[in-house]
Homo-oligomer: 548 residues x 2
C-alpha cells in the first residue's frame, strides 16, 4: 500500500498534485489559461497551415492533447500543442501519403498516432537518451533551416492579393510584437498588453480586410467540437512512416524537455524525462484521435504559461476548454482572418527562429561544429525537414567518429622538480635518451589503431636510440578487441628492433581489458603505476617507494 | 629531373624494380608463377561459380588484372584475382541487375568497373583509412557468415547426381589438402607436392567421373582469349550499384592490404597503401574490360606466391601468361571437371574461412565485440553479403558511440605520500571534506554531457558538504561546442548551491577549446596544472612551487 502511494505519483503525476490543489492555485491557473488561449488560437491555426492542413486541425490538436498531458505530464508549466518545427516536419513527412491518395488531415493524424506510439515506446524502454544525439549545432541548423523554409513557404500567400496589404500586415505585426513591448513601462498590465498586442493587430487587420474587401480570408471553418476518430493506416504505411514519425517525435520531445527542464530548474521542481516521453506520446495519440497533427511542448507558449502564473497542469485543461469554446463559437469569426495576415504572423515567428547567435558561437569554436550546423541547415533547406534532422544527426556522429579516428599521440617529458609529465612540444621538460614516454589521447578502438601506429612509427624514427617505449594510458578510457589485438601485434614488431613496450597510468577498466586480451600476460616490459615511476625506473634504475 | 626520378617509382612502382631485375630473380619468379597458376586455375573457376557466373569469367579475371597490378602495385608478392568473399558479394550485388534483364557476366563486369573506379577514387583522395572502420570482429563475422552462405550454396550441387560421389569427392579433397601435408616429411618437394595434391585429387575425380559417366560436368568452356569489352552500364544502374560496389572494393582492398602488409613486414619491404588502392582499382577496371568479376589480393594465393619464391610482380605477369594458355588450350579438359568435385573444393575452402578462433577470443574479451561479430554474421547470413558488411560497420560504430555516451565519472583521492590521484573505489587514498576531485573518462561531446551531469549530480548528492568541485580533465581529449556549452550552463547551477568549479590537468588542446567556448573566462574557480596542485591549494591553502 505504501509502495503504491509512492509509485502512483510517478506513474500518474496528477495523483501527486491534485489532492493538494487550492483556490489560490485555481485563480492563478485560470488567469494563465486565458493568456495562453489568446496566444494559442491564432498560433494553432497558423501551424496547421504550415503543415498544409485545414485551420481547424490546429485548434483540434490544442484540445484533447492538453487534457491528456495534464493527466500524465510531470512538468507543472508545460503547454503542449502544434509547433512550428514539428508542423513543417509534418508537411514533409505526410507528402508521400497525400501523393498516394490520403487526405492531408488523415495523413497528419496517422503521423501523430505513429509518432505518439514511438514516444510511448521510447518512454517505456527508457530510450529518452536518444535525444542526446541531437547536438546543439544540429538543432540550431535544423531550426534555422526550418525557419527559412517556413518563411519562404508564406511569401506567396503574404503578397498574393495586394502587396501593400502584405507589407502593412508585416509592419503592424513586427511593431506589435517587437516595438510596442519596448515602449511599454514595466508591470503586469503592460506585460499582458504586450502579449495581447499581436492578437489585437490580427483583429485590426481582419476588420480592415473585411471593410476593404478583395483580400482572401481563411474561409469557412466547420463549427463544433472535433469528432472522435481512429486514424486509418495500413501496416505498410505505418512502416514507411516509422522513421519520419520517430524523428518528428524526438524533435518535439527535445523541444518539450529543454524548456520544461529550464523551468523546473528555475522553479525547483523535479522533472522525470521518461514520464515526459510517455505523457507526450499519449498526447500525440490523443491528437490523432481528434484529427489533429503532431504536438509538442513549445518554447514561447510554455514560457508564457509560466510567466502568466500557471501553477499546475490544470491551467492546460482550462486552456483546452477555452479553445474548445473557440472551436464551437468563433469559427465564423476566424474565417474572416485574412490569409496574408496569418502568413505575416507565421513569417515573423519563423524569423525569430533564425539562430544567428549559435552560428557565430560555433564559428568561433570549431570548424567541426560549424560543419554540423551548416550541413544540417543546407540538408533541411534542400532536402526537407525530416531529411535535415536525419542527415544532421548522422553528420555530427560522422564528424565525431572522424575525430576519434585521428587522436593526438604526444611525447612526454618531466616538469623539472615535479612528478608530472607533459607534452615536450609545449613545456620545458626533462627527457632521457633511450626512454620514450608517449601519451595516446583517445580510446584504443578499431577506428584509430592504424593512425596511432603511424604516429608511433614517426616518433620512433625521430628517436633512433629508444630501447624502452612507455605508453602512457592516462587518456585511454577504453580498449576494444581490435585495440588489444593491435597492441599484441605491435609488440613482436618492436621486439625485432630491440624495443620493449611498457605501460603506465593504466586505468582499472583498461587493465582488465588488456588482461582479457592477453596483452598484459605477453608484455615484454612492465606496467607502471605512473609515468614518474616508469621514468625513474627506466632512466635511473631507481623505483619510487610508493609502489602499491 | 631528380624529382621525376624520385617520383616515378612512387607513381609507377615497376619503374623502381624493373631496372634492377636479374636472371636469378627471373628463375624464382618463373617457378613461383607455375605453382600459383596450378592453384589459380581451379580456384578461379570455382570463384566464378560462387558469383553465379560461367567458369571462364574466373579465368579471364586472372589474366589482364595481374598484368595491370604488376605495373602499378607496390607489393612484391601480392597475387590478385577473384576471391571467395568478394565473389559472394558479387553474387549478392548483381542480383538486382540480373533481375532487370542483364546477363550475369555483363553485370559482374559492370560491378568490377564501378568498384575499380571507386577504389581509384579512394586512392587519389587518400581515403584508404575508410577500411580502418572494418573492425576485426566485423571482418570475422562477415567472413564466417560468407563461409556459411558459400557452403550452403554448394550443398545441392555436391549431392545433385550421386550422394556417394559427393562424399568421396569431399573426403578425397579433405585428405589431399589437410591429411596428406601432415604425413609428408619437410622440404621443398614435399611442400610442392602438398600444394599440388588438391589439383591431383581434382584430376583424379575428373577421370573417375568420365569413366563412370552420369556425373554432370562443367560443360563446354569457350576456348580462346577473353575479348576486349567496355561494360555497358547506364548512369542510373551505376548509381544504384555505387554503395555495393564500394563495399566490394573496400572488402577486397582490406584483404589485399592485410596480407600484403604482413608479408612486406616479414620481407622488410615498404608498402604504399594509397598506391595499393590505385593498383587494385586499375586491376578491377581491367577485370571489367575482359569480362571478369571483381578481383582482390587473397590470403592463400599471395602466401603461396611468396613461399614459392616470387621476387617481383613479374611472377604475376607470368602467372597471367599460364592462365591465358590454360584459357586457350585447356577449355575442353576443364569442361570435364565434375560440378560436384568443384562444389567440394569450394565447400572445403568455405569451411576453412569459418573463424572460430576469433569468436572465442571476442567472447573472452567483451560483450560489445561479440555483439559486433555475431550481428555481422547474422546480417550476412540472413540479409546477404553486401548488407552484412554495411550493417556490421554501422553496428560496430553504433556500439562505439553508445560506449562513449556513457563514460565513467570517478571520484579521485591522493595516494598517500605521492602526488598521484586515483579512483577512491579502487585504491586506499586520502580525500578532504569540502573538496571533490572528479575525473571524467571521455571526451566531452554532445552525446554524453547529460550522462556526465547525472553522474556528477549523484556524486554531489553523496557529498553534501562540497564547496569546491575539481574536474580533472586528464582523460578528456576533446571538447566540442555542446560540451563547452554544457560546462557554461553547469556553472551557474552549481553556483546557486554554493559550489565553485575548478579544472585540473587540462590538455593544451582542450584549454584552447574551453577558451574559444568562453568557459575559462567565465570560470568561478581556478585552472590547476595538476590534481595535486588543486588538492593542496584547496584543501590546505598551500600551492606547490612548481607552478609554471
Amino acid at each position: 500500500m505504501n509502495t503504491l502511494r509512492q509509485l502512483l505519483p510517478r506513474l500518474l503525476p496528477i495523483a501527486g498534485w491534485l489532492p493538494r490543489y487550492t483556490v489560490q492555485r485555481f485563480g492563478a491557473d485560470l488567469a494563465a489559461s486565458v493568456v495562453v488561449a489568446v496566444l494559442l488560437i491564432p498560433q494553432s491555426v497558423a501551424y496547421a497551415l504550415i503543415a498544409g492542413l485545414p485551420p481547424q486541425a490546429g485548434l483540434y490538436a490544442s484540445t484533447l492533447p492538453l487534457l491528456v498531458y495534464a493527466l500524465l505530464g510531470s512538468s507543472m508549466t508545460q503547454s503542449v500543442g502544434p509547433m512550428a518545427l514539428t508542423s513543417l516536419m509534418t508537411a514533409s513527412a505526410i507528402a508521400p501519403l497525400i501523393a498516394s491518395g490520403m487526405t492531408p488531415q488523415a495523413a497528419a493524424a496517422a503521423l501523430a498516432l505513429i509518432s505518439g506510439a514511438a514516444l510511448l515506446g521510447f518512454g517505456l524502454l527508457r530510450l529518452g537518451f536518444l535525444t542526446h544525439f541531437l547536438s546543439l549545432p544540429v538543432v540550431s541548423g535544423f531550426t534555422s533551416g526550418t525557419a527559412l523554409l517556413i518563411a519562404a513557404g508564406q511569401w506567396h500567400t503574404l503578397f498574393a492579393d495586394a502587396a501593400s496589404f502584405g507589407v502593412i500586415a508585416l509592419a503592424l505585426l513586427v511593431f506589435s510584437s517587437d516595438g510596442l513591448p519596448r515602449l511599454l513601462p514595466g508591470g503586469r498590465s503592460s506585460w499582458l498588453l504586450a502579449r495581447a498586442a499581436p492578437l489585437l493587430a490580427l483583429i485590426l487587420l481582419t476588420v480592415w480586410a473585411a471593410w476593404h474587401g478583395g483580400i482572401s480570408t481563411l474561409g469557412s471553418l466547420p463549427a463544433g467540437l472535433p469528432g472522435w476518430q481512429w486514424p486509418a493506416v495500413t501496416l505498410e504505411q505505418a512502416r514507411s512512416m516509422l522513421l519520419p514519425a520517430m524523428l518528428v517525435g524526438l524533435v518535439g520531445f527535445l523541444q518539450s524537455i529543454t524548456i520544461a527542464q529550464t523551468l523546473a530548474l528555475q522553479r525547483q521542481e523535479t522533472l522525470q524525462p521518461d514520464q515526459e516521453l510517455i505523457a507526450l506520446g499519449a498526447s500525440n495519440i490523443a491528437a490523432a484521435c481528434v484529427g489533429g497533427l503532431p504536438v509538442s511542448g513549445g518554447f514561447s507558449r510554455t514560457a508564457v504559461n509560466a510567466q502568466a502564473g500557471a501553477q499546475t497542469p490544470l491551467a492546460g485543461v482550462m486552456t483546452a476548454g477555452w479553445i474548445m469554446l473557440a472551436a464551437l463559437w468563433l469559427g465564423q469569426w476566424l474565417a474572416l482572418i485574412p490569409k496574408a495576415a496569418l502568413a505575416a504572423t507565421i513569417m515573423l515567428a519563423a524569423f525569430k527562429l533564425l539562430d544567428w547567435r549559435m552560428l557565430r558561437a560555433t564559428w568561433q569554436f570549431s570548424r567541426r561544429d560549424v560543419a554540423a550546423l551548416v550541413g544540417t541547415l543546407l540538408a533541411t533547406v534542400l532536402l526537407g525537414a525530416v531529411e535535415g534532422v536525419a542527415i544532421g544527426v548522422l553528420l555530427s556522429l560522422a564528424l565525431f567518429i572522424y575525430r576519434t579516428s585521428r587522436p593526438q599521440v604526444v611525447q612526454l617529458g618531466r616538469l623539472p622538480g615535479s612528478e608530472h609529465f607533459r607534452n615536450v612540444r609545449l613545456y620545458e621538460v626533462e627527457t632521457h635518451p633511450g626512454v620514450l614516454l608517449v601519451r595516446i589521447d583517445e580510446q584504443l578502438y578499431f577506428g584509430n589503431t592504424r593512425h596511432i601506429e603511424s604516429a608511433l612509427t614517426a616518433l620512433l624514427a625521430e628517436h633512433g636510440d629508444v630501447r624502452d617505449l612507455v605508453l602512457v594510458l592516462s587518456a585511454v578510457n577504453d580498449v576494444d578487441f581490435s585495440g588489444a589485438d593491435w597492441l599484441m601485434r605491435l609488440q613482436p614488431i618492436l621486439r625485432t628492433r630491440g624495443i620493449r613496450i611498457h605501460l603506465a597510468e593504466v586505468k582499472a577498466r583498461v587493465r582488465k581489458q588488456l588482461e582479457r586480451g592477453h596483452v598484459l600476460q605477453a608484455l615484454d616490459g612492465e606496467v607502471f603505476l605512473s609515468s614518474h615511476q616508469a621514468f625513474c625506473t627506466l632512466a635511473t634504475g631507481h623505483t619510487p617507494d610508493y609502489e602499491i
